[in-house]
Symmetry: C2
Subunit: 408 residues, 2 copies
């Protein structure tokens, strides 16, 4: 966003409790394997009832907390979310549903809110009953604080190597509001196969219908661009809570404030999505794939995701191999319309294909450019005006090591 | 096929020149990097005109030899195929088309057949002009022999670790015919991103329309089941030539001979597909995924392929981790209809999920079972009668090592 400086400002060390009216806490309750600084049971709670919205996995095997939260947020209101890592409470049947409800009951009883106002999110091993006694013991010790966002961010991560959190301030007529977020990475860079969480808060007052639409649009441009279409884990959850504590008029669709809210929410989600991509299991680099000139935005999205998801390209980027043929190939099978004789490809700043013709380039210099921590790939289909950006990471030996020994 | 013994017999050491009327040869012409026993330019030629059919990549970036061969085989007749490894002649523009035509011209001139009767196939690096002078020099030295199939099988492989070839004899009324084949593996187990070849010969006489239908059906049940739907490399090529030299009546659709031909062609293609899957880059194991009880065959195919293609599952199988949750997850996002409370999963002989309920199983014994060279995964959706089988391989550190250093 070129004019972000005018009305949008990232807040240093910002997190999900940076907007007014939110508190968080987390404890270690023995759900993750033990380790220094580990946290695995947490709560994000608003001081007041919030308008709320959620986007969840489309996987037909949806975890119990997803089923519960999807139902509870449908009315457009919620007060917070209780969460754990170390156990996904997925493929756990009716007992899993009971335990998801119990999580909200235990937290609601302790903090004096109705359990129906609490959403639930779980991540970790699939198919193992959630140890509800440990959760209860942990929640009994949990305290929430207005600066608890960092702990919450720490709590939700699993194979992530670092916390993912941000906050931003947005100037609007009559004042400003804030948006904050924490996220947990997919173990893999494709959320299709491992869990992605993003919990967003804002102290703006937002009309629930607009909040729902806005979240869906932002997720489409962010988390869905580090994924294969419709491919999500059993537990993927993106939720937003709006406390209204900034004291500004309620944001309704169609206003300038709504536009700024939408744009900023998208920026926040993209920032989290990129953080997830860059921290993919075993990853050493963020790959950004921008596709222009597609016949439609849908085509651009398809081509961008296809390239970003290609194992062969991801391995090539890892090895510093400017293998643009794999980019052409992945765009070619993406389903997007493509005419080879019009295709342009630029990799890490090196134009390699122009109108379908191979350009000479300094392979050694391109290889060096590929060893940076961020690699940008530009594809122009030269067929129309559709554009999209997708993100991925490189594929490394370490990814295989991590994922060949997860449950056992 | 339970009754295969009755009329179908695999031929020991069989290959593409085992059926009557076919000769092959191959030489090293400097297209691959040098090495002992390397061959990179070859020819399969029939003694007589053949009926023929081909199935090619659906990638919008199709290599020049694919464009040429697709056009030439359309009429249902061809005499042979000239091929090379080490250069894919893909993304090479009009010059690439000229060189593909030249390959057929050079071979046709030398062996006294019309170049229009020759198909062409190339595999290797994308986007580099094919060194036609080297090809020409090599073809000048090439001789073909009735026992040349093994050399042809050796010639087409790239990162494959072993030749892929087979032949089978089929008894029909009045005698018998043979089907032979050679194949080259996808570098990756998904043909979506690396090249797959399968060249099939038969000495049956086969009506071209039926031959075309039969090949498409067989490819659907074999090579398309080690792939993601519609996702193929720039160069994928499956062709069949029928010489009629067995001296039997021509096979037309609807006859018993046609049924046996179809069934056997499918067996041959599946054998080659499994050989490709088992020899995926860095692979140590073949994974077979059978899905039953789907609402339709399409649903079964989707679910089977989705499981076989899951990076997380492939890594788990590599590590001997009986992580059935990843199977449920991959089936869940496959697009196939699925009801969690009806789902059965058996992994390497260990039932782990029955009607959606987790079964206790000996994880240590299951882990040992996963260390075999073939791992079978059974999924029953318990919703209908659709069945399908897909094949894949495990994902290893070696895969990453191979693919991070291909062009440079």
């Amino acid at each position: 966003m070129s004019d972000e400086a005018v009305w949008m400002k990232w807040i240093e060390d910002g997190t999900v409790t940076t907007p007014l009216g939110f508190k968080c806490g987390a404890v270690y309750a023995g759900l993750k394997t033990p380790g220094p600084g580990k946290l695995d049971v947490g709560l994000l709670l608003a001081d007041v009832p919030c308008s709320a919205a959620g986007v969840f996995t489309t996987n037909k095997v949806a975890a119990a907390p997803v089923v519960l939260s999807r139902e509870r947020v449908r009315g457009g209101a919620a007060r917070g979310i209780v969460f754990n890592a170390g156990n996904a409470n997925a493929a756990t049947g009716e007992q899993g549903m009971q335990r998801a409800r119990q999580m909200a009951e235990v937290a609601g009883a302790k903090f004096g809110v109705s359990p129906e106002e609490l959403l639930v999110a779980s991540t970790g091993v699939i198919g193992v009953p959630l140890p509800i006694d440990r959760f209860e013991e942990g929640m009994g010790r949990l305290t929430i604080r207005a600066d608890g966002g960092h702990d919450a961010a720490q709590c939700i991560i699993t194979t992530d190597t670092r916390r993912k959190e941000t906050a931003v301030e947005v100037a609007v007529e009559g004042g400003s509001f804030k948006i904050g977020a924490i996220a947990k990475g997919a173990g893999m860079i494709h959320p299709n196969m491992a869990t992605m969480f993003c919990f967003v808060t804002t102290d703006a007052a937002v009309e629930p219908g607009f909040l729902n639409t806005a979240l869906r649009r932002s997720v489409d441009l962010s988390f869905n661009m580090i994924s294969i279409d419709g491919d999500m884990s059993t537990n993927d959850t993106a939720v937003v809570f709006a406390s209204g504590m900034a004291g500004l008029p309620r944001i309704e669709a169609g206003s300038q404030a709504a536009e700024r809210f939408q744009a900023t929410l998208t920026e926040v989600c993209i920032r989290m999505a990129k953080a997830i991509a860059a921290d993919g299991e075993g990853a050493t680099k963020l790959i950004e794939v921008r596709v222009d000139g597609a016949e439609s935005e849908d085509d651009a999205r398809r081509a961008a995701r296809s390239v970003a998801a290609s194992n062969l390209l991801k391995a090539a980027v890892y090895g510093g191999d400017p293998n643009w043929g794999r980019i052409a190939c992945a765009a070619g099978y993406s389903g997007a319309n493509l005419v080879e004789s019009k295709l342009d490809i630029t990799i890490a700043g090196f134009p390699t294909l122009l109108q379908g013709k191979v350009l000479p380039f300094d392979a050694r210099a391109a290889s060096s450019a590929l060893m940076q921590s961020k690699v940008t790939i530009l594809v122009n289909l030269n067929l129309g005006k559709g554009s999209a950006t997708a993100w991925g990471c490189d594929l490394t030996e370490e990814y295989v090591v991590i994922n060949s020994k997860y449950t056992t």
